[in-house]
Symmetry: C3
Subunit: 267 residues, 3 copies
């Protein structure tokens, strides 16, 4: 922090288990990756090379090194995992991870259906040697999964060895835990949290209004994903109440009276 | 200018009193700040480090130096001012400005209510040692301020010593002088300009359609704010009639006849 | 490609006649242009300096050199051509092209009306010494051109010597071949393609949903334009079926069954 202010909520520090910021790199150049690493070294907990961009990225290993040297682990988008899975090429996928020196992977079924038992079996297999982020939720806007099913799947995947479960929203923030308009399915999120621990979930929340909703309800140390590289400091300011949208969330409201009501929940 | 064209409106030159472009940096890295300074040295009149991002920006002083060395003054977002104000820490805020070597500050009440008298008192206090940009308008979409009140506040703040008054719109361009849809409250703007000089106002106008509206009605040398760093040259081209949206604004319409009607007002 | 996968459609290689990616630079700095060139050397076929930004770009010649050295030809936005045309300064325009060492130009009438005969005459004139990209379609949302007229114009312009015709959509993707909502005028596109060869057309398609539509129907080697510099690798992944939206387009659907139907057309 560059200066002191009272009534600033305390952020967790790296390596974080809660309050994670997961960033999506969908095609940065080496120098742009360096920019992101410089700005975000303290704030980014993990970076995803979005969907299958890693296949067409020039100097891929150099980019991974840039992030690794800044203390930011890298993983490949779940869509790439699914592309290898659907082609019956998971051994090749594992070799690729090792060749790239990656220690994390995403296991998802956003574009295809993998039976729950098989998905958990895959999580068990990879969890022996990697940190697994498993994603729940479809990329298909038409496919509405009822809350009890979200809970069942998340529970089973955590039990199978997932380090974190990711709640799907896409880069657009318009599927999974969000409506097509981007609005949060708040009943769904609340019901999930009656059964699953907040610390086990990363919520994909690419839009500011979505981030505000999560921070207001669950405090500054909620784990958020699919953050754009140029939004890292903006999100960090939002988390600690230094953006208009979250200005009153962490104030005690004593003096002077702010114009808005503080959020109901503090961290 | 890299080449000559007739019928190009004359832009003011730095240091500008009218035709100001105020840019919002909400988390650029040092190298991105250098990119912005290189592209925008001639065109950017002042840069705002958006809301409270300056608290969490790595190498903050280096970034400020990059802009200063390019002849671009820096100020901190009004939300940060409000965060110090609401915590009764304005002396610490002033020390911060001095420590960072800043000569400009924003005094706003977008997230809180400051009684008009007190706000003007603050403007008077800081105007002794700094150039004050004071912002009028709430960040709250629900809070509709009637035109006479905008005029009253702007007048009082200019009289108290504000260098410029900023008409609030946020980064999103959906509050204050704009409707939730981003459309200009044109009646409000027109009424304000019956009483306040165009040169005293910076209009926050982050969206292209908003910039077009102001340039069409008030010419290329209208002062616009909350411009994104990657829109600087695009705005400059728009200002001088070299984008589709403003193509006919400055043509005399003699030969050959363009397909659209020129704007009603020229600079 | 950084690794192998089966069932990946074969992309054309540079210099491409089909499967072109045309990128719009609307104000990058030199270093950002270098970033774009590094990432996109294999994927970008041509770069447009959007509308009239080239007039106000610092170190314009250096920027053009960056792209040229990466094997990416540059041309100036059609709006700039129209600005010279409407001022009766086309000789100066030609001198400008030569001074900048450009070998491509765009001839358009998006902001003005040029009678079809005259436009073709201009194409014939410039095609002697340059590669001409001529654009069809108005930037005016109100101006609906019927399909037969699109076909007539495209045919005439190709005959006059255009290297490619560009189907207008603007940076926003909301005019010309798209509705105001950004939705594709699919009947229009299909009718055009009954008479004009796919290889002769670059479709401006700045939005992902638009790119998906073209790739789904016409395969990975459809020519797309007005791509943002930070979307180059994302588009390339989309083209080869490695993004959720195009995941099933190129799968044979044998094993295991994907959850979605493949696109109707393959390359």
């Amino acid at each position: 922090m560059n200066f002191s202010l009272t009534q600033i909520p305390e952020r967790t520090q790296k390596p974080r288990n809660a309050g994670i910021t997961m960033v999506m790199d969908k095609g940065l150049s080496i120098r742009e990756a360096e920019n992101t690493a410089e700005t975000g070294a303290e704030y980014i907990d993990i970076i995803k090379l979005g969907f299958g961009t890693s296949m067409v990225t020039p100097r891929l290993k150099d980019k991974i090194s840039v992030y690794r040297n800044a203390g930011i682990p890298v993983y490949l988008g779940g869509t790439l995992f699914e592309a290898f899975y659907v082609r019956n090429m998971l051994d090749a996928y594992q070799s690729l991870l090792d060749d790239l020196g990656l220690r994390h992977l995403e296991i998802s079924d956003g574009s295809i259906d993998i039976p729950s038992d098989e998905k958990c079996e895959l999580i068990r297999r990879f969890a022996k040697n990697y940190k697994v982020l498993s994603e729940v939720g479809s990329k298909d806007t038409e496919k509405i999964i009822p809350p009890y099913k979200w809970i069942e799947m998340m529970n089973a995947e955590i039990e199978a060895g997932s380090w974190k479960v990711i709640a799907e929203a896409r880069e657009s923030g318009t599927v999974g835990i969000f409506r097509g308009s981007g609005e949060v399915r708040s009943g769904l999120v609340e019901e999930i949290l009656t059964k699953i621990s907040q610390e086990d979930i990363i919520w994909e929340a690419p839009k500011k209004a979505q981030q505000v909703w999560f921070i207001k309800l669950y405090g500054c140390n909620v784990s958020l994903g699919n953050i754009a590289p140029n939004e890292i400091l903006a999100l960090e300011a939002l988390r600690i109440g230094l953006r208009g949208d979250s200005f009153t969330f962490f104030l005690d409201g004593e003096h002077p009276k702010p114009g808005r009501k503080p959020g109901d929940l503090r961290i």
